[in-house]
């Protein structure tokens, strides 16, 4: 990939996050972007608590982080898609995220066809050796008109 392609990809991926009102609202930040992969972090926020007893973040907020990260991974793929949308997404919640800790999701497009991208994602908190959640999904792949 040329330097020009790389900077173009980085720009698109960053805009992808910045242009999403709900991702901004949750304070998501893109920390890494590669060919068909992305990493996005989200700080602990008391507004996102799902269980007031424990202070654990709601699964829905983790879903949103995973979905956004998976979408960013699709957009950063070398074929440079024009757009993407989630077809389906399955999240497995392995353990509650530790209250107070930042959650980081990493997603990779492990296979793409002409019109579909298959994505895997993992979310971790302060202890990366024990994932909080994993996700798999299928995304639409709209190719840029040539």
């Amino acid at each position: 990939m040329s330097a020009e392609d790389k900077s173009r990809r980085d720009r698109i991926a960053r805009q992808f996050i910045e242009a999403i009102p709900h991702a901004r609202e949750l304070g998501m930040a893109l920390t890494e972007i590669g060919d068909g992969m992305a990493e996005i972090g989200m700080d602990y926020d008391a507004r996102l608590v799902g269980d007031p007893e424990t202070g654990v973040i709601h699964g829905g907020a983790v879903s949103t982080l995973m979905d956004t990260c998976a979408g960013a991974a699709v957009m950063s793929h070398a074929i440079a898609p024009a757009a993407t949308a989630t077809l389906d997404l399955r999240i497995d919640y392995m353990r509650p995220a530790t209250p107070g800790e930042r959650i980081t999701a990493r997603a990779e497009c492990y296979h793409v066809t002409r019109s579909v991208a298959f994505v895997r994602a993992t979310a971790v908190d302060g202890d990366p050796s024990r994932p909080v959640a994993t996700a798999t999904g299928a995304f639409t792949l709209e190719r840029a008109k040539t």
Binding site: I20, I57, A61, D88
Partner: protein, 164 residues
């Protein structure tokens, strides 16, 4: 001796207060602005439109994560509601009852059928099975047309340990 039915306002007040306690206690439900409408024992989730819920400003469309969260919230509230219904009806839930424990999501799978439009959404859950330990719930959400859901989901939940 035949017990007289309780006055309707007593029954309604108790049900609505319990539901309120369930919903207002969760910050994330408030953050998304989700309301729960009750008709007898049937609950409907309502997600009033807000600009901050947008995921694709070009279309515009609701964020897929918001749709997933709305479905998951509706499933959890519905499951909790079914779990406490008998105790509530029997008047065993009082203001002194400790906080109602919530089921924990094991997995959640969302099928996105069409994009969520920038307007209010509604959701209803159906409990496939609720055992002592595990539960399976289907939930779907629609906007203008009940016959055209824009997303459906199935989730599995771990039920809180209960006394008795």
């Amino acid at each position: 001796m035949i017990r007289r039915p309780e006055p309707v306002q007593v029954v309604k007040q108790r049900r609505d207060a319990t539901l309120q306690r369930l919903v207002t206690g969760v910050p994330y439900i408030q953050f998304l602005g989700i309301k729960i409408d009750r008709r007898g024992d049937e609950l409907t989730g309502i997600l009033p439109y807000a600009d901050k819920l947008i995921g694709n400003p070009a279309l515009p469309a609701l964020h897929g994560g918001v749709t997933a969260a709305f479905l998951e919230v509706t499933a959890i509230v519905d499951l909790t509601w079914a779990m406490i219904w008998e105790d509530m009806e029997a008047g065993r839930l009082t203001d002194d009852t400790p906080r109602i424990p919530l089921p924990k999501t094991i997995d959640f799978t969302v099928d996105y059928l069409r994009s969520g439009l920038p307007r209010d959404a509604y959701a209803r859950a159906r409990i496939n099975r609720s055992g002592r330990r595990y539960a399976s719930v289907d939930v779907e959400t629609w906007q203008d047309n009940r016959q055209r859901p824009f997303a459906k989901a199935t989730g599995h939940f771990l039920m809180p340990a209960r006394d008795g």
